[in-house]
């Protein structure tokens, strides 16, 4: 991003909040000329990067709110460091001109000479488009949008007149970057509080920031891959059981003529190494192919990633292959041992591949693990740290999987009842077959179980959050309309919007609620910003023994909770440092109960009036006068919002629904999980069914001889598959609901109080698992009809 930059001058003062939020103190524009005169400096350019939203020709803002790529306003001028090159027109000059990045111009359908509306902290304004610029060799960096102004306009429109974020420096090559940085630093007094970074340093810092933002993504991905590996190993186990079965006679014969157990086991393990190796390499190549495709896709969607291509490190390659092989070999271990154990006599017997009995120890181990897990969860509920929760859940999961073969027969029989009733003798046989080898049934159902449990748990969590959100806003939001901005800490609605709305006829009050990043006791904290004069009767934060009007410029409201934890009663004082490094001493004027939206600290907008800081509203709440017509007011509001350019006007109920809807991102995750487990479950069931069909050739032959039609053979296999799949789903739902309840309970401090069973999802899962069963049975059922009747009757 800063590849042509040799130095970067900025303030040392920064307020850093959670989730990578930070606001650095701006530096005076006058410093630019000072840096320009340092020997060794070839060129300088002031840098500003602040929130600005370009409104397209059709009136819709470009870029996305919330988690999408950011929308920037910045400085565009001739500069040797050349971040921007003009492809059409020229750089802007003067307060009425703007240049756009190439992609934004294209998406906004703008050409040079057009009038462009841009929204920033100070409000919205119209400019004349004088140039279109490209960023290095990409049309726009990473999907972000850029509106470029000359320095003075950028400072005044995006931030504060006379201040910039940083100064970009290009050296003349007479000294190293380090030396240049030192020379620039030497120009300044420590009281100026500025620092100079080399080009390499600022590049690294930026990359680290991006890496951090991506790390959450990484955690989700590795969770996916662990789940995939876990359930994959069940499938591998079954595959090797099949090949052990198919080669049983052959192996028995080898044993009869003198091969040792170890030789036979080892042959199979060697095979697993090869399979693991080939599988891992194929998987990795597939993955690389997929990410190239993804990059191409993003490019196609206009999101250019200015990086040096796809990065595949040696450690990624080694890890993938090593882990792939280890998992495969471990999964093949038991089947290989069993293959070695085959008695030489088995060469003369028909196939009986796995012992079906379930040991008593298994029951005890399973029960003990579940009891232990429940005990830990109980302790967590009783007050033990929530970090123990994971362990408890793991034990319950593990115990259930160990116990699976014990539970499978009764549950399978129960689930098979409709099949037996509906389908007569074929249903009866399917039901019996599904519990014939409980170990295998349980193992086959395990991927379904794990997937379903996770999906159910997350759905339960999502449903509970939705319910909660609904309750909160219904109770606290007293107004009629809201203008909403999905902010994730960057940008938002201009505070001037609420002021304008208050002048509309029929509006009793319009009040903006926003955020401000400050430092308290050395730590970055977000304050909630309100306007005490308009919030009354519109939004209720649950003040206890205080009124909104008590909040003056030197006051602060605290949540009861935070006040207690930090020992800050009413009347005590709190020192805050603003992002422009100025300090305020605030007196606690009152406490409130509803911290769901208001957070822990609330200040008045007056508190930082005139300070050189950023503050946006994430929502504007509007109450109409009692006798005003809702439709008319809404129309007037809509016009004002359209004129402003961004934000979404919603009725109270629409707003509540939309807030609850943000939980849908969580649901997106669920569908990812669901898809993953569906695929693995289908593969697992197919393999197990093939194994069963293979083992039961004679039986199928006999049935065909005495008059079973091919259709009936298929029905039997299909229902067996469906019962197995449903078994996994039912177990998974039970576990998942329990898990969801536990998580919701553990999160009660975060304000989750009501647990909700995700009924819709549960029904959907049951239907899905039925479909999975039917789909998985297609191939094995077809194979079953191909059984040669005579061959299976003649072989003894």
């Amino acid at each position: 991003m800063f590849k042509n930059i040799d130095g970067y001058v900025r303030s040392t003062e920064v307020v850093e909040g959670e989730f990578g939020l930070q606001e650095r103190t701006r530096i005076p524009l006058a410093m630019v000329e000072k840096v320009r005169n340092v020997p060794g400096v070839a060129d300088v350019s002031p840098d500003i990067q602040a929130f600005a939203r370009i409104i397209a020709k059709d009136g819709k803002p470009l870029g996305s709110e919330g988690n999408g790529p950011p929308t920037f306003g910045s400085v565009g001028e001739d500069f040797k460091g050349a971040l921007w090159t003009i492809v059409d027109g020229r750089f802007p000059a003067g307060p009425k001109e703007v240049a756009l990045d190439e992609a934004s111009a294209k998406n906004g359908k703008y050409t040079v000479g057009d009038t462009v509306k841009v929204v920033a902290q100070s409000g919205s304004r119209e400019f004349t488009l004088v140039g279109i610029a490209s960023y290095g060799d990409v049309r726009s960096p990473g999907g972000a949008t850029f509106a470029l102004f000359d320095v003075e306009t950028a400072a005044e429109f995006l931030g504060k007149p006379g201040f910039v974020d940083a100064i970009l420096v290009v050296g003349d090559g007479t000294r190293t970057d380090e030396q240049l940085a030192d020379d620039i630093d030497a120009m300044f007094d420590p009281s100026d509080k500025v620092e100079t970074l080399t080009g390499a340093e600022i590049t690294k810092e930026t990359q680290d920031d991006i890496g951090q933002a991506l790390s959450f993504f990484g955690i989700i991905l590795s969770t996916f891959s662990y789940i995939a590996l876990g359930v994959g190993s069940f499938v591998i186990y079954n595959v090797f059981s099949i090949s052990a079965a198919q080669r049983q006679r052959e192996n028995a014969l080898l044993r009869a003529v003198g091969a040792s157990r170890r030789q036979i086991s080892r042959a199979m393990l060697t095979e697993s190494v090869v399979v693991g190796l080939v599988g891992s390499v194929l998987g990795m190549l597939g993955g690389i192919g997929l990410s190239s495709a993804l990059t191409a896709l993003l490019k196609g969607l206009g999101i250019d990633i200015p990086s040096s291509g796809l990065v595949v490190t040696a450690s990624t390659v080694v890890n993938t292959i090593v882990i792939g092989v280890i998992v495969t070999v471990l999964s093949a271990w038991l089947p290989a041992r069993r293959a070695g154990k085959v008695p030489p006599l088995a060469a003369m017997r028909s196939t009986a591949i796995e012992v079906a009995q379930v040991g008593r120890t298994r029951t005890w181990i399973g029960l003990a693990a579940i009891a232990l897990g429940l005990g830990v969860i109980g302790a967590v509920i009783g007050g033990l740290g929530t970090s123990w929760l994971g362990l408890g859940i793991l034990f319950v999961f593990g115990g259930t999987i160990v116990l699976g073969p014990v539970i499978a027969p009764p549950v399978g029989r129960f689930l098979g009842t409709p099949a037996a009733k509906l389908r007569g003798i074929t249903g009866v046989m399917a039901r019996q077959n599904s519990v014939r080898n409980p170990k295998r049934t349980a193992r086959t159902a395990s991927p379904v179980l794990i997937g379903v449990a996770l999906v159910t748990a997350v759905s339960a969590l999502a449903a509970s959050i939705k319910g909660q959100v609904n309750d909160i806003f219904t109770e606290q939001f007293k107004g009629d309309f809201a203008i909403n901005f999905q902010s994730s800490g960057f940008g938002g609605l201009s505070p001037s919007l609420a002021d304008g709305l208050n002048r509309i006829e029929g509006v009793e009050s319009a009040t903006g609620i926003g955020t401000l990043l400050v430092r308290i006791d050395g730590q970055g904290r977000l304050l909630t910003v309100i306007t005490p004069s308009t919030i009354e009767g519109n939004y209720d934060i649950g003040l206890v023994g205080a009124r909104y009007s008590d909040l003056d410029a030197s006051g602060i409201f605290l949540s009861k909770d935070w006040s207690e934890r930090n020992d800050k009663p009413v009347g005590s004082t709190i020192k805050v440092t603003l992002a422009d490094a100025s300090e305020r001493t605030l007196t606690v004027r009152g406490l409130y109960e509803n911290d769901d939206v208001a957070g822990n600290r609330v200040v008045s907008r007056e508190m930082f009036a005139g300070a050189n800081v950023q503050s946006f509203d994430f929502g504007v709440y509007v109450k109409k006068t009692a006798d005003a017509d809702a439709g008319e007011v809404r129309a007037a509001l809509q016009k004002a919002v359209d004129d402003y350019g961004q934000g979404k006007l919603l009725s109270k109920q629409e707003y509540i629904d939309e807030q609850a809807g943000s939980v849908n991102q969580l649901l997106g995750l669920i569908y990812g999980l669901l898809l993953l487990s569906v695929v693995i479950a289908i593969v697992g069931i197919i393999i197990t069914l093939l194994l069963s069909v293979f083992e039961r050739q004679r039986e199928i032959g006999l049935l065909r001889a005495v008059g079973m039609t091919k259709g009936q053979v298929r029905t039997t296999v299909r229902w067996e598959s469906v019962i197995t799949s449903l078994f996994g789903a039912v177990m998974g739902i039970v576990l998942g609901v329990g898990l969801g309840w536990t998580i919701v309970f553990a999160l009660r401090d975060q304000g989750l109080t009501s647990f909700q069973v995700p009924v819709g999802t549960t029904v959907f899962i049951m239907v899905m698992s039925f479909v999975v069963g039917v789909l998985a049975a297609i191939y094995p059922a077809w194979r079953a009809t191909k059984v040669n009747v005579l061959e299976s009757l003649v072989t003894t």
Partner: protein, 246 residues
């Protein structure tokens, strides 16, 4: 039961069955023509590899013919689809195999009723009761095959073959895996089924004693019908076998 006008339950007409082709060609049945009369107990005998099982499979619709035709109740099997053959086996034919006759997951009763259940046909209650009593299985009905002795399992198989009142029953060495006492028991039941219930049975066997329970023996050698015998006794059968062997 030798009625003067005996009708034909099943027959083979110029039936040939060739396995493989070229050098490895095996002519398992060579232009065989034979009739099995209704209400008769017929035994098929012959040296190993003479084509006994093959003949049975072809007439019972379990195997495809190379040429000629097989008829059950006057219907030509060679023109039937797989589905029609399946229905035919279920409704008109009963089977008793040497071993592995029963579905291990089903009870004795379900096994007995299997062809009826598969065909969704209502069992003839009185008949089924009679069959079950004939083979003395009344108190074993809810048992699974693994809980029954070898003889009991074969009796269940006999009962299954009878339960659907088939046109004809085919049995391939039904006593081959049993000791002589149990074998005798099974053979007695089969005889009874013919005498008392009017069944038609075709049984493949190596055992002269078993064959002596039949009304008529058809001798096969090298895929040809070489001889026949009526009202056999073990001694006469043994005698004939010796001649065939030579």
């Amino acid at each position: 039961m030798n009625s003067p006008v005996s009708t034909v339950a099943a027959s083979a007409v110029n039936l040939s069955k060739i396995y493989g082709s070229g050098d490895s060609e095996v002519r398992a049945l060579d232009n065989v023509s034979v009739d099995f009369a209704t209400g008769e107990f017929t035994a098929i005998m012959g040296p190993s590899g003479s084509g006994k099982s093959t003949l049975m499979h072809c007439i019972a619709g379990l195997d495809e013919l190379t040429s000629g035709s097989a008829l059950i109740d006057g219907e030509d099997l060679s023109t039937m689809s797989d589905k029609e053959l399946t229905t035919l086996r279920r409704e008109k034919i009963g089977f008793i195999f040497q071993s592995f006759n029963l579905v291990p997951t089903l009870t004795a009763e379900e096994n007995i009723l299997l062809p009826l259940l598969l065909g969704n046909t209502e069992p003839n209650k009185a008949w089924v009761d009679r069959v079950i009593d004939t083979v003395h299985l009344r108190n074993r009905l809810s048992h699974r095959p693994s809980e029954l002795s070898g003889g009991q399992q074969q009796r269940v198989a006999v009962a299954r073959a009878l339960a659907s009142e088939p046109h004809i029953i085919f049995a391939d060495e039904p006593t081959g895996n049993l000791d002589s006492t149990t074998g005798t028991e099974i053979l007695t039941f089969m005889r009874k089924a013919v005498d008392e219930l009017g069944q038609t049975i075709v049984m493949v066997t190596h055992d002269p004693v078993a064959a002596s329970y039949s009304d008529r023996i058809v001798f096969l050698a090298d895929g040809h019908v070489v001889d026949e015998m009526r009202d056999p006794t073990p001694e006469r059968v043994l005698d004939r076998m010796k001649n065939l062997g030579n």
